[in-house]
């Protein structure tokens, strides 16, 4: 068995019949930005900027078998199974198959990206079993081929604007997200949303022009590691998303965020998650987050949790 999540490891000494690989994928907390974006040729692409959550993960193991058959567990993970099949084709091993086992701690139906995480962990597990290192861009393309749309979680904390229906990066913002604390909760009393049943939003001219600006502002916020500008990006994107997927009482969340001098509010554009963003580098950031969480609980929101993104605490916990 290969070590957890280490895609670079080459274990050449394993006996072929028992070769197995492991892959993980992180969850996310919805998006910091989602809309349509123009490329240099003037064509529009649907795209998003994911808010990664690296504490909740999907872990897949893939054990190579000699028959060209893939068996997934749990058996309902058909997209992950498809992703495994496509990965074998991509690395030219389609004559082989394997047993795919997925263990995920990611809740389903709220916008945490559980389905994509299963797909991505499966792709990584298959590649790992065959001692192949895949580029992030290949993982994304395979994920989109397997489930029609994906998110940018293969890029983890690297900020990218990602065309989620095409599986390609529209713009690399050139760095990691600034350290954030996310006070997350669920709108709609936590009722899950059938994300695949949602119609893609149809945006108007003004919204499309606004997305151009939000992309520019996102780029600035990454270049200067400015959580407040990033918070503005998220808030405006959340406000636009309300016109397409209403979230009950988001105005209350926006007001609480303002009162607590938070950076902004982000949402899962196809889920029930809402997150208030705080600058994790400020003094007493955790105290402020706990205080904010209490206010949000008092306002009647469900499942209030604090997540850290790209903070030093998170790094220490990982090692």
């Amino acid at each position: 068995m290969v070590e957890t999540g280490n895609l670079d490891s080459t274990v050449a000494t394993r006996k072929p019949a028992f070769r197995a690989g492991k892959g993980h994928a992180i969850a996310h907390h919805g998006e910091l930005l989602q809309g349509v974006f123009e490329d240099d040729a003037g064509r529009l692409h649907r795209g998003l900027m994911t808010l990664p959550l690296d504490r909740i993960r999907s872990v897949a193991t893939f054990k190579i078998t000699e028959t060209a058959r893939i068996k997934a567990l749990p058996p309902d993970r058909t997209k992950a199974e498809t992703a495994a099949r496509l990965t074998l084709e991509h690395i030219d091993r389609s004559h082989t198959g394997g047993d795919l086992v997925i263990k995920s701690a990611i809740p389903v139906g709220h916008g945490y990206g559980s389905s994509t995480a299963d797909v991505v962990s499966s792709i990584r597990a298959v590649a790992d079993a065959h001692d192949v290192k895949l580029r992030r861009s290949s993982i994304c393309r395979l994920a989109v081929a397997a489930e029609g749309a994906s998110d940018a979680i293969p890029y983890e904390d690297q900020a990218v604007l990602f065309a989620h229906r095409e599986g390609v990066v529209i713009e690399h913002f050139g760095g990691a997200l600034p350290p954030l604390l996310v006070v997350g909760f669920k709108a709609h009393n936590g009722t899950p949303i059938d994300t695949l049943g949602l119609q893609p939003a149809r945006y108007g001219s003004e919204e499309i022009q606004l997305f151009r600006i939000l992309r520019g502002l996102a780029s600035r916020s990454i270049r200067f590691q400015d959580p407040y500008l990033l918070g503005r990006v998220a808030t405006v994107s959340a406000q636009i998303s309300l016109r397409h997927l209403p979230k009950s009482r988001l105005d209350v969340a926006l007001q609480i965020a303002r009162q607590h001098h938070a950076c902004g509010v982000q949402v899962a554009h196809s889920g029930s998650l809402v997150g208030v963003l705080l600058d994790a580098a400020q003094r007493d950031a955790w105290t402020k987050a706990l205080d904010l969480a209490q206010t949000i609980r008092d306002a009647g929101f469900k499942d209030v949790e604090i997540h850290s993104v790209n903070t030093e605490e998170a790094l220490e916990n990982e090692t």
Binding site: G42, S205, L210, G216, R220, L229
Partner: protein
């Protein structure tokens, strides 16, 4: 369409000049190319503008030059309608070199005869139903195009607290302001107009400062965005343009001078805030006039004292070409302000 005619996109990309530690100017070679390109692109995409169709517009200013560049590159015949009192021979020659037809309507009153120009334009449209009117005064494309400027500003400056810009059609200031305020809700917007322009409630009269203000009210002017209105006379605008060139090496037209005058004052009053100012065109067109000492010397009352502060008006009224006035507009509609007068 010929080749992808993007080789002059740089003309609609402003240079960003820092005029003070907290003041950034977006100095455009030819700002109107931004809305002109956006309007044509949209009309081409929607099928409203067919290949080779006749384009018409009423303009005596830089929007005409912008459409002429695009029309030439994309093989559209173009007619620009202006008034005899507004003819600038050299500018007309440049437009004609781009194969634009410039029609000057007789203008006995010297007020630009916008009514006569529109009548001519409507006749042209009636005779040739395939023709396309760019409608810079009321096309939404005019203000929507300025998301490009906001993109450039936020990428390079980040947060902006004050926006200062001229108003003629309303496209640049109201477009930039609409978008920028969605990103930064506390943004203050300062509009720059000139005496005897009717845009912000002054009685119409002869305006010395060309390219700023209007004698009709374009639909793209959104008064309720504006926090404060400044009326700058021709002379302080010229002086400010001279200072921009001498002190900053930024060679712009007189309307840019008017905007810079107001913006520098705003920046000096608000130390900790970031101010952005829009400067729409370069000074070359004005080399024989406002950058020419002999021409200046013939102006009545020139040289005059350069105002360092605007005079605050409690009632809206026109002033001398050497004056600079302002009025707290407070995001009101034009009718509401006029009623309160």
């Amino acid at each position: 369409m010929k080749l992808d005619a993007d080789y002059f996109r740089a003309l609609e990309t402003p240079r960003l000049a820092r005029l003070a530690p907290n003041l950034v100017a977006a100095a455009f070679p030819l700002m109107k190319l931004m809305p002109a390109r956006f309007i044509l692109d949209r009309a081409e995409a929607s099928g409203e503008l067919k290949p080779g169709a006749h384009i018409v517009e009423t303009t005596s200013g830089t929007f005409g030059m912008a459409v002429a560049l695009l029309a030439a590159a994309r093989s559209y015949p173009l007619t620009l309608v202006t008034a005899s009192s507004l003819i600038d021979r050299k500018y007309q020659a440049r437009l004609e070199r781009l194969d634009a037809t410039v029609v000057a309507i007789d203008d006995p009153l010297g007020d630009g005869n916008q009514t006569g120009r529109l009548k001519f334009l409507n006749n042209t449209l009636k005779e040739n139903p395939e023709s396309f009117w760019t409608r810079q005064y009321d096309s939404a494309g005019n203000w929507l195009a300025y998301a490009n400027l906001v993109d450039i500003l936020v990428r390079n400056v980040g947060q902006i607290d004050f926006l200062v810009g001229c108003v003629g059609t309303g496209g640049s200031l109201c477009g930039t302001g609409t978008f920028l305020r969605q990103i930064f809700p506390d943004l203050k917007i300062f509009a720059v107009d000139t005496h005897r322009s009717m845009l912000f409630g002054q009685p119409v009269g002869k305006r010395m400062l060309r390219g700023l203000g209007n004698s009709v009210l374009p639909g793209n002017v959104r008064h309720e965005l504006v926090d404060e209105i400044h009326w700058v006379g021709a002379y302080p605008a010229y002086q400010s343009a001279h200072a921009l060139f001498r002190d900053e090496g930024v060679f712009m037209g007189p309307t840019s001078g008017a905007a810079a005058l107001v913006a520098k004052w705003v920046a000096s009053k608000h130390d900790g805030a970031t101010v952005a100012v829009i400067m729409p065109d370069e000074g070359h067109r004005h080399a024989d006039t406002i950058y020419n000492e002999a021409w200046l010397a013939d102006l009545p009352g020139w040289p005059c004292k350069h105002p360092t502060e605007p005079e605050t008006l409690s009632r809206i009224r026109p002033a001398k070409e050497s004056d600079w006035t302002h009025f707290p507009w407070a995001r009101r509609r034009l009718d509401d302000v006029l009623l309160s007068q």
